[in-house]
């Protein structure tokens, strides 16, 4: 989906600053949100791609205002509500109740976890068949991504690059996030000269990004 999360190449953000002494978690709630996020696929019967998609789907306002661990918190709630483990509005109602407000909490819902069993752990898979592209081949990234989960950033779409490495085969996030199919396929590291992506005046560098076979066509 063309969401706020797809940030590569956006302008207007200002400088990046490093705080060399920052703690792993700035506040205790961040640590808890991290832990719940790390367990969220197990709690909701999902997977890593579904978790990422639950982050991508957050409202752009929330995405920016909540910060990294706020997004983790949001994605846990989304995954749990999506699968009926928690009813919609449960977290906000409980938070209001805990701070002393007189609220009625929503009735519990019946969990309906996805009918999904991974064929193996993790995302890497061994697949049959030779890769469609070889190192050195010229390829073009597709011009659009599907409206569900995708790992094809806007800034690469429609551009022509060169396959530099054949990566391990992996499940396709686009279908895996929605529990449709693992659709394991070849993945290629594809390099793009900066001028292809950003025009003749671009800084001199090479951008390399992994592309799932579904994202590419011969060029």
């Amino acid at each position: 989906m063309d969401g706020i999360h797809d940030m590569g190449g956006m302008q207007g953000w200002g400088r990046v600053s490093i705080d060399p002494n920052e703690p792993v978690f700035a506040e205790p709630w961040e640590a808890k949100a991290f832990a719940f996020g790390a367990l969220s696929a197990r709690l909701s019967g999902g997977n890593l791609d579904a978790m990422r998609h639950a982050i991508d789907r957050q409202h752009p306002y929330d995405y920016l205002v909540d910060g990294y661990y706020g997004r983790w918190l949001g994605c846990v709630e989304t995954q749990l509500v999506d699968t009926g483990v928690l009813p919609p509005g449960a977290v906000e109602a409980r938070a209001r109740k805990l701070r002393g407000e007189d609220v009625t909490e929503p009735a519990a819902t019946e969990p309906h976890k996805p009918d999904y069993q991974p064929t193996a752990g993790g995302s890497l898979r061994t697949i049959d068949g030779v890769p469609r592209f070889n190192v050195g081949d010229t390829v073009r990234a597709k011009t659009s991504a599907n409206s569900g989960h995708s790992r094809l950033p806007r800034y690469t779409r429609g551009h022509t690059g060169t396959v530099v490495t054949i990566q391990p085969a992996q499940v396709l996030p686009d279908t895996h996030a929605h529990f449709v199919a693992e659709n394991a396929q070849h993945v290629y590291a594809v390099s793009f000269p900066s001028t292809i992506l950003w025009g003749a005046d671009a800084e001199d560098f090479t951008l390399t990004i992994d592309m799932y076979d579904d994202y590419l066509e011969p060029a």
């Binding site: 953000w13 200002g14 506040e27 709630w29 950033p153």
Partner: protein, 198 residues
């Protein structure tokens, strides 16, 4: 104008986290010991000190370095460093003529087994947006001014492959032990926004 998606008095993230915890606990879905263990692991046991040991060994032991470049995941695993976000780690080497830098523009994918959880700047929209468009400018702002002759390679972590930068060993460290070398390797150098100084 687009309205904000919430009531003005929406509970903040600390309150919502407490609420979520209470809901999960009363349903028996989480074990506080597991939660504390996870947090403790990423606060105390998994962090850039892991990656620094890998780098120091690669600088000290040519055979290890060869294994690391050939199969990063396996060579890193020799230290027992493995786990989430480390399913397949590829090592890219910085030198006097080539500088690699890593980003995840779509979220904040990061090689947790060797670097721990990502720092704020790595997750900052400014870094995610700009490092794939004007890396030399961003690196200079972050304190790393590269020669125009240095080749810059930016790696966007869009699949489950995680990238780990092997920094260049600084001059004047020839007599240092592996342990001493590990102490000077920084997180920022292993992502590629810094270099290691003797």
């Amino acid at each position: 104008m687009t309205a904000t998606p919430h009531a003005a008095d929406r509970p903040g993230p600390a309150q919502r986290t407490e609420a979520l915890e209470s809901l999960l606990l009363e349903r028996g879905l989480i074990d506080p010991k597991v939660i504390d263990g996870l947090i403790n692991r990423y606060v105390n046991d998994v962090g850039p000190m892991n990656g620094a040991r890998v780098v120091a060994k690669a600088w000290s032991d040519p055979e290890y370095k060869a294994r690391l470049m050939e199969d990063g995941t396996k060579a890193i695993g020799e230290f027992g460093f493995a786990g989430p976000q480390g399913e397949f780690i590829r090592v890219v080497e910085n030198s006097a003529s080539v500088h690699n830098v890593v980003v995840c523009t779509l979220c904040s994918c990061y090689p947790w087994p060797v670097l721990g959880l990502p720092p704020t700047w790595y997750k900052d929209p400014a870094y995610r947006a700009r490092i794939v468009r004007e890396p030399r400018t961003v690196l200079a702002e972050m304190g790393l001014a590269l020669s125009p002759k240095t080749e810059v390679k930016v790696w966007d972590s869009s699949s489950e492959v995680r990238y780990f930068v092997l920094p260049e060993r600084p001059a004047g460290t020839e007599q240092m032990t592996e342990e001493e070398l590990a102490a000077i390797v920084t997180r920022d150098a292993m992502v590629g926004v810094g270099v290691v100084h003797a």
